[in-house]
Symmetry: C2
Subunit: 734 residues, 2 copies
């Protein structure tokens, strides 16, 4: 019996920082499936096992939904509490946030819902004085101190325990989903540290969001649950199907947008997304959203984060400011991507500066989500916000929700100034914050920048319409006494534009914004802004922030969206190049174990083509370096008579050799008999297409049946970089 | 100069009922794009032309959206008018429908909005008597007569002018999008006749919907606008990108659901759906939806068809009836697919029977969309429908919208009986109607079946809860005086379940239902029903109605969702089989024109591999039969000295022959130098994957560089049919 009939460990696995072979993974899964199906006819127990196997996908989805929803809820609650802890503490129960503290005390009326005796600011608690310059300075100082403490903890935890926990994680997840191996990136340790440090980082008041990192957290959950089922843990291809769905669940809990999450995963993150995964992703996304809702961190029973209800439609003429906001969003995206690439400053320093500058301005002091929520809001009669300080016409008594246009009061003008300062501050500080070595997302800060700009534009248009009813552009839709401009809508459009400029999302952006706000009527303004911002940003550079970070890190990511339109052929890209030494090949029946070992030692290729003979150069298969090393090591240890001078046979039957000759080593079992080949005349665009769609690791090049060379994924990426006048050496891994 | 340097007409086109080669189309488009880009640097005019070319995709989308939205609006208006024409006529303006007629007359109050003096039933108009048995019989008779007239016109128009206009068209569109050519299927003539006959068929009162055919209409619009731009008209691959987007626009106008439309196109219809198309489809879908809304056929300013607003949440215990509705939906789907395959009866007969049986029952007499709309509705205080005839408790005065649970009045019990009869009638008649030779869709009839069943279940549960508050299952959520069961929600869930059972849609179904009704809160009941109905229906047969019709017609459709899990290899599928004559090949430099012509005459293969020589069998390329025929015909006509004994050269340079030899024919230009090859050991699952993902037409099989055989798409499909124990001869086209 040939020992190779039994599989030996680790054959068919991959090394760290290498690319997987999708076709091989898929075919391994089919084998596994076939085995289970044929076994299931043998006994009831095997039948049950096969049913469990068939259902394991749904179980994993359910678990992912439950865990990521729970984690998102816990993170939300913890962030609420710790953000408020910077300002004060709840006397009745220190683990209550400001809102919960005053909510449980029944004494407060609707207007004073922010003020209750149980909640005390630090100055009041320590000195007894709630007002005055001394109390302000003390509160200010403690605010900064808490912020520094939180960010110090966050940065230390990340640095010491899990360096992979920093950033948003989305570029790496994209790369992993495209078939790259980064061990530990989605591990338990990363999950734990990322969750804790995310809370710390957001609470410290830095200009970053938790939405991107939540996708990473959800993917870690997905990876964790994969290990429960060998179907997923032992197959890198199947594992990635689960991770795609987990990414959808992550976005779903980040925004309360299950459909948007699935589309985000499909459009932005995933690489291989079969339709079966679509349905499962949707399931995971829904479970996650409902788990989060049952924990109810937003305090309302809505599924959505920023629920808005506007009472007026939009008008065609408003498309002009909306498109201008789109342009602003595109420029913001370009600026952010250009400058956000090079993080230079220290986390602690940035936290200090952020805290010092943020505290005095009410719009930067509060948490960014609260800010966005307020900016999106329409001014109803009950609204107590400074932004809604309009001068009411006492002669008119109208229903609560139907407020006609009014002149702005002094509060609105103060708010305008503060918003303008907040805009500049947010722009500068967000650029410095992203890319620091702590968990940080860009969705919410980008949306905040857009929302501030949008609200400013909205108020300007509104007041212009009020004071100039007779202007030709306002005449048709802004008669006196009618409510015509909704500044909150401008904020929403601005937020969408800025988010679009940075990420270059399209359909998923519109769907997320629409789910986030619940407004189907405003889909056209959102689209107009999203399209404009994408076009403007694309004019300055085709890559969104994630692609730009992938490139910066040199990951071997083959983007499905890059069109390859150059006229090169496979022969121009394959190795060996002209003047290079000839291709390292094995022959099917004339290479010795020693030859193979020398070849492995002298080269660092991931695999070797096997040919009939060096003269005919006719290809018969391809063998992986890793499998070859393992097989020879195994054989030397376990199989008698295999020595350095043994001949390695890749043929079906090794010839009967005289007893004096050393025992042959039969390795047909590890030979891939269906290596992918193209002819040397194949246009590179076709080759790129094949690599993308089939997820190849390498491809052999032939002419009239003779082996000429090899093209690896890295060669393809290098060639593409070269064609786009980029440095081909920026592609770093295999 | 070689005449072949100039392209000659028709090279690279396809014959009717043949499959396209996606890779070739793609590479042709890249060539075109490259030419335009390089030319654009030459002059301003060329630059403008290149910009126009780049924008033509968006222009086509805009035009598709505008035209399909307009057509949908016109169809809606015409159907409204003609449906009412069966009952009576508007005296003030005969082109007004009942609703418009009474709407324009200002005399009516809200309660009597259906009754106004201008609208007269036929009996009243002809005899002066509006009431009585005589008038009823006359109205009944005329109703049937109109119905017969409409369906006679519809069936005659389809039969005489455009046989492709019958059915829903979605199976054929799926096949076309997968790369099959059916000339005229999306032509102008089909568009015109389908639009007219669709109105006639729906108005005749047959149990069919206009939603599926609207997808066909939108695709015809897409094809029409393709012909404006050579980028799309001359490239079958690019054309299909436009058609995918058009399908999304079609669903968008059918339901007022742009996001659902895009997902439907992605999940259900499309084959090759690059991300760029996603965004464009969304644009087309939105433009179409807004065009339709500005025509405003639904009479309200909502974008959605069946807008509902429920005031109570759903409870966990209700999942049981929802899942039961899902089971019903799955059974309905199975029944419909099994029996709907064999249309036997005549259109006129079915119309007659439908009209005779439908008229007496108020729930079948009205149009199906109105019926669904009423079934979905929650019973507010203002509702005058018989379904809302509850006994009010006079002691309670509650706000209008918040009605606690009440016992059903006699009207509800009458309605229950009528609904039960309507359910049986709809089930039977829908099965007989679908597949008849007129335009017919199944969305609305299926939804009606489900909605009726759902409403019946809903009322039953509601009354059970009212009369048995103390039962353990109702105890927690149905206290006396509280509104706990919404029968309209059950109707909605039932509709989703039945639609899901027939079409096997998943995510797109939930999104369409959600957009259709505007209710994000009810996504879990919808999903539960959709999942159950899909599982139940799948247990009886994996195919939805579209796949079943594709199979029935023998179209060569390679479904992306079928998993191929058998252990066969390429060598088992390729031709020639053992004992077959050897593969028909050409040699690169030893075949004469006469040999080629004989080969073309004797075989009906679509193309021939070209090898170095018959002995070495080393492959150098592949040549299409069509191109070969055209090239030889052209050469014989235009090139001097090409005679039957001329040698055909596929090599780079033809040798210098003595003048006495006949002129050689150089055909390298039509030779595909990069034919797709796999080895004979490649597992068939990989081959299937390659065919699917790369959209191949054929693939050559080699072993150690020697050509062994060929696998065409038809071979793959036949093999798959065989493996699933189906008749391989059911695959009919190439």
């Amino acid at each position: 019996m040939d020992f190779l009939d039994e599989p030996f460990p680790d054959v068919g696995t991959y090394e760290d920082f290498h690319t997987i072979d999708w076709l091989r993974e898929k075919s391994r899964d089919t084998d596994r499936h076939r085995k289970i199906t044929s076994k299931s006819k043998e006994s009831i127990w095997e039948l049950i096992k096969s049913l469990l196997d068939a259902w394991s996908g749904w179980v994993v989805m359910l678990l992912i939904g439950l865990l990521s929803g729970t984690l998102a809820g816990v993170i939300d609650l913890a962030v609420d509490w710790m953000t408020d802890l910077k300002e004060g503490v709840c006397l009745s129960a220190f683990w209550y946030s400001h809102e919960q503290c005053c909510w449980t005390s029944n004494e407060t009326t609707f207007d004073d819902r922010d003020k209750c005796p149980q909640w005390q600011k630090w100055a009041e608690l320590m000195t007894g004085h709630a007002e005055g310059a001394g109390a302000y300075v003390l509160n200010y100082f403690l605010y900064i101190l808490w912020a520094l403490l939180f960010s110090f903890l966050a940065v230390s935890l990340v640095r010491v325990f899990a360096p992979y926990a920093c950033g948003s994680g989305i570029p790496e997840i994209k790369t992993i989903l495209s078939g790259f191996i980064i061990r530990g990136y989605l591990g338990k340790w990363t999950l734990l540290i990322k969750t804790v440090t995310l809370v710390l980082a957001v609470s410290s008041g830095l200009s970053l969001g938790k939405e991107g990192p939540l996708v990473h957290v959800a993917c870690c959950c997905g990876n964790l649950f994969c290990s429960l089922f060998s179907k997923y843990s032992k197959n890198e291809g199947k594992r990635r199907e689960v991770l795609s769905a987990a990414a959808a669940a992550g976005v779903s809990v980040a925004f309360g947008a299950p459909i948007g999450g699935v589309l985000f995963s499909l459009e932005e993150v995933s690489y291989y997304f079969p339709l079966k995964t679509l349905w499962r992703s949707f399931f995971a996304a829904l479970v996650a959203a409902f788990t989060l809702r049952s924990i109810n961190p937003f305090g309302n029973s809505r599924l959505v984060l920023f629920y808005v209800e506007y009472h007026t439609p939009w008008y065609m003429a408003e498309l002009v400011p909306f498109i201008l906001l789109g342009v602003f969003g595109g420029l913001w995206g370009t600026l952010f991507i250009r400058l956000g690439k090079y993080p230079v400053l220290e986390v602690i320093a940035v936290t200090g500066i952020t805290a010092v500058l943020a505290y005095p301005n009410p719009y930067t002091r509060r948490s960014t989500s609260e800010l966005i929520s307020e900016l999106f809001n329409d001014c109803g009669a009950l609204e107590s916000s400074q932004l809604c300080d309009y001068i009411n016409n006492p002669n008119m008594s109208r229903p609560v929700d139907d407020i006609p246009d009014r002149p702005a009061g002094p509060g609105v003008y103060t708010a305008l100034w503060q918003l303008a300062l907040a805009l500049i501050f947010k722009i500068v500080i967000t650029i410095f914050t992203f890319g620091m070595k702590i968990p940080s997302g860009l969705f919410i800060p980008s949306m905040a920048v857009g929302a501030i700009a949008g609200r400013i534009v909205g108020i300007a248009v509104e007041q212009m319409a009020y004071h100039h009813h007779d202007w030709i552009i306002f005449k048709n839709w802004c008669r006196p006494g009618a409510d015509c401009v909704t500044p909150g809508l401008y904020a929403m459009v601005g937020a969408a534009a800025c988010l679009g400029g940075v990420t270059r999302m399209t359909v998923s952006l519109v769907v997320i914004m629409f789910e986030l706000t619940g407004g189907l009527e405003y889909i056209v303004p959102l689209m107009a802004a999203a399209v404009t911002s994408k076009w403007v940003a694309d004019a300055f550079g085709k890559e969104g922030i994630y692609e730009s970070h992938i490139q910066l890190n040199g990951y071997p990511y083959l983007d499905v969206r890059d069109e390859f339109t150059h006229r090169t052929l496979a022969t121009d890209v394959m190795r060996p190049r002209r003047n290079d030494p000839p291709l390292a090949v094995l022959t099917q029946d004339s290479t010795t174990v020693e030859d193979v070992e020398t070849l492995i030692k002298d080269t660092d290729y991931n695999g070797f083509p096997v040919v009939v003979s060096r003269e005919s150069e006719r290809l018969i298969g391809f063998v992986q370096r890793r499998d070859l090393t393992l097989a020879i090591k195994n054989a030397r240890q376990k199989q008698d008579g295999v020595v350095s001078s043994s001949v390695v046979y890749f043929t079906e039957d090794a010839p009967q050799l005289p007893a004096s000759n050393p025992q042959p080593l039969k390795l047909r079992r590890i030979l891939n008999l269906s290596p992918f080949t193209v002819t040397d005349h194949t246009p590179m665009e076709t080759v790129v297409d094949i690599f993308r769609k089939l997820g190849l690791r390498q491809c052999l090049v032939t002419r009239s049946g003779r082996l000429l060379g090899i093209i690896t994924k890295k060669d393809v990426l290098r060639h593409m970089a070269q064609m786009m006048n980029q440095d081909p050496e920026s592609i770093m891994f295999n």
